[in-house]
């Protein structure tokens, strides 16, 4: 076999000291080096944050997130000598640009503030550090962490306002801002300034709604149930549940008011406690008039409306004797302020032009003020302005700086006036004279009787006449006696008794076992039945109010009927 195969000369080469196998460790080394380099590159940079507490933070676990995207991780937590928590955070290199001079860091954890619950996911996943990049220059590496999450990140466009209020009411962080019941923004911060005792709410309005807010917009707290009792019945206003719990702020431009200019960012606006307060503050001071009231001001207070034929045109500004220079005046001076804006829509223009001139004309026509009762139940009063052409014209008077507006008594107060007039008249009647006159008359009568007596005593014949008269009287008495002794007269008591008996008989049906009594008794019984069934019905309605509409549940005792 051996000789059949051709001799193959071995190709002898000098053995190289290098074997190809060494490529494997070299490749492994290169790969390892590349991995190390990549790992190093991916590590990113360390930035330092200072917090008051490391509550919820875990080294090597807590993530740093920007808009919920992980950009880094907490590497170590250390307590400084000043007992401050120093958190070292490694930010990924490709996200390092997010760390700027005005970047904000805060610990995002589950928070329950007022009615708003946020960060619920952190209950399970654990807290994380939030990062808002801000807009400043890059390069900062040391930050002071916020204790509460910041407002909507400054990088999100929108309108930021500061609402100032004396009282926060139920408005808290997270309360909605509503424009005609549409949510347009939220309260984001709540700061109480102890020096000024003013509450400041930071408010963020979404960008697409920001032009709804103008310089004439009014903000007011709209929290809770409101119940109005008016001439038109009850008006119960129940806001949505969340605003009932968290409170809400309504914003609107009052009716009849031009929208005004757009509001600049971070401007300060006042927040009113209620719509009424907002409307009052919206008052555009205009003409001020003085009226003198000579009656009780009970029910009239500062802020009470001033109306012209039922249209609101102003309010009562002040009630004070200070308004008068003339100190020995009895009537109460009341200053009424007319709202320019309301006047423009609610008042005849004739008075508006040129103040004094137009006003004089109006006074000539009989413009007068009167107190009227706005609500008989609560006794609220308002000042009504109207023309009374038939009343005497009063010349324009000035009292200090104010024009004096004449007053007139009308309506309920007028009625009171007339009654008091009547009483006054009664009071003024000359009763004393009348009594003395009567006395005089009786005196005269006594005198007359006395003179008669005299006349009697002076005449003897009169006595004799009297004697005969007496005798005649005796005779008459005797006749009367006879009459009484007569049978017919004796019969009278028996007749009387008979009459009584028949009366008795006729009264019998009314007695205990009489027919009428029975009837009455039955009626009473029926009444009692009726009352009982009413009671039952009331019970049923209170048990099941809808039975009033849908009737009693028929299933309980319905007799099934066979189908024919």
């Amino acid at each position: 076999m051996n000789d059949q195969t051709p001799e193959i000369q071995p190709d002898v080469r000098k053995g190289s000291r290098f074997n190809r196998v060494w490529i494997i460790p070299i490749v492994a080394l290169l790969l390892g080096g590349w991995l190390v380099k990549r790992n190093y590159d991916e590590k990113g940079e360390i930035i330092t944050l200072h917090f008051e507490t490391a509550d919820g933070l875990t080294a090597g676990k807590t993530e740093v997130k920007c808009r919920n995207v992980k950009v880094g991780i907490v590497e170590s937590i250390r307590l400084t000598d000043e007992l401050e928590v120093e958190v070292s955070v490694r930010i990924k290199p490709d996200q390092l640009y997010l760390v700027r001079k005005d970047s904000q860091f805060w610990v995002e954890k589950a928070r329950v503030e007022g009615a708003s619950v946020s960060g619920l996911e952190t209950l399970i996943k654990g807290a994380f550090i939030g990062l808002d990049p801000g807009t400043g220059a890059k390069g900062a590496r040391d930050f002071k962490g916020l204790e509460t999450p910041p407002l909507t990140p400054a990088s999100i466009e929108g309108l930021r306002l500061i609402l100032t209020a004396k009282e926060p009411g139920s408005v808290t962080i997270g309360s909605g801002i509503y424009f005609q019941n549409n949510l347009i923004g939220r309260v984001e911060s709540h700061t109480f300034h102890p020096e000024t005792k003013i509450v400041e709410f930071g408010v963020f309005i979404k960008k697409r709604f920001s032009n709804l807010i103008t310089t004439n917009s009014l903000f007011w707290q709209n929290s809770g149930i409101s119940l109005h009792v008016g001439a038109d019945g009850f008006d119960l206003d129940l806001p949505s549940l969340d605003s009932l719990v968290a409170g809400r702020i309504s914003v609107e431009v009052p009716e009849g008011v031009p929208p005004g200019d757009p509001v600049s960012d971070t401007s300060s606006v006042s927040l009113f406690e209620s719509l009424e307060a907002a409307n009052q503050s919206n008052f555009m001071g205009g003409v001020e008039l003085l009226i003198l009231i000579d009656e009780s001001l009970r029910g009239l207070s500062v802020g009470s409306p001033v109306e012209y034929r039922g249209l609101k045109i102003g309010r009562v500004g002040r009630i004070s004797y200070d308004l008068m220079k003339n100190t020995d005046i009895e009537n109460i001076p009341v200053l009424i302020q007319l709202d320019d804006r309301l006047m423009a829509t609610h008042f005849p223009p004739s008075i508006l032009d040129e103040g004094q001139g137009g006003f004089e004309k109006a006074l000539q026509k009989g413009l007068k003020a009167s107190l009227k009762s706005g609500n008989l139940l609560t006794g609220q009063m308002y000042v009504d302005l109207d023309y009374y052409p038939e009343s005497p014209v009063v010349e324009t008077q000035m009292e200090g700086d104010y024009i004096l507006l004449p007053t007139i008594h009308t309506g309920f107060t007028g009625l009171q006036d007339r009654i008091s007039n009547l009483l006054d008249k009664l009071n003024n009647m000359d009763l004393d004279g009348l009594i003395s006159k009567i006395q005089n008359t009786s005196d005269e009568a006594t005198e007359t009787l006395g003179s008669i007596n005299l006349a009697i005593s002076s005449k003897e014949g009169v006595v004799a006449d009297a004697q005969t008269t007496l005798q005649e009287m005796t005779a008459t008495m005797k006749g009367l006696n006879d009459l009484l002794g007569a049978d017919d007269t004796r019969q009278i008591p028996a007749d009387l008794r008979k009459t009584l008996a028949s009366i008795n008989k006729s009264l019998e049906p009314l007695s205990n076992d009489g027919a009428i009594y029975g009837d009455l008794k039955r009626t009473m019984e029926e009444l009692r039945h009726a009352v009982r069934s009413i009671d039952k019905m009331a019970n049923e309605i209170s048990d099941k109010p809808n039975s009033l509409l849908f009737g009693k549940d028929p299933s309980s005792n319905k007799i099934p009927r066979a189908r024919r």
């Binding site: 195969t5 074997n19 196998v21 060494w22 492994a28 390892g32 676990k61 996943k125």
Partner: protein, 207 residues
């Protein structure tokens, strides 16, 4: 004592047919014939060195990425050992430590010793050297335990947002290390040890 090489005979690597070395190729299957594995020590050392390189990231980098409720938590082998140790699960901790850290390390040491013995750098009693070689070969395939565990967990734990497990970069490194050490052990020709002994016993190693 004579070896087969002295008779110019060699066994085929593929079919184990013993043929004369002058044939160069196995008459049965055509595989080139070698008296000893080619560049055995060098290959073994190179592969073992690559294995050591892979051993470093295998222990430093996370082998498993557990994403629990959105929070990713990487865990390294040694971290896992420490965790089990703290949980007082000592047998588990010891098992992982031995299987994943100690055995690969010892394997590199063993290969180093064998290579040194094969090149005559150190003297070693043949039965001991043989035992070491046998152990290295035997243990080789079992050091993949870690990778197996990770593979099983990755396949099993898929609970959506609740919990997911992904293999980390160390798993690849670990796998590579195990494969490299196995290849290194395979590349080593134990006959070299005997050659050394024979060399020292009867000085001239005639052909």
């Amino acid at each position: 004592m004579k070896s087969a090489l002295d008779e110019n005979l060699a066994a085929c690597h593929t079919c184990d047919k013993v043929s004369d070395l002058s044939l160069h190729h196995c008459p049965r299957c055509g595989t080139p014939l070698h008296g000893r594995k080619q560049d055995s020590v060098q290959r073994c050392l190179a592969l073992a060195f690559a294995g050591i390189l892979a051993y470093i990231p295998a222990n430093l980098m996370p082998i498993m990425l557990v994403t629990q409720l959105g929070v990713e938590e990487p865990s390294t082998i040694l971290g896992g050992v420490a965790t089990f140790w703290e949980m007082h699960a000592y047998p588990v901790a010891i098992t992982i430590f031995i299987a994943s850290v100690m055995i690969p390390g010892l394997k590199f040491l063993a290969l180093g010793f064998l290579c040194a013995a094969a090149t005559g750098k150190i003297k070693m009693a043949p039965p001991v050297a043989n035992r070491i070689y046998w152990l290295t070969e035997l243990v080789g395939r079992w050091s993949m335990v870690d990778v197996f565990v990770v593979a099983i967990l990755v396949g099993l734990v898929h609970m959506g947002d609740l919990m997911t497990i992904r293999p980390g970069p160390a798993a690849i490194a670990f796998g590579a290390m195990v494969v490299l050490t196995m290849l290194a052990a395979h590349a080593f020709d134990p006959k070299l040890i005997w050659d050394q002994i024979r060399k020292s016993q009867n000085k001239p190693l005639s052909k």
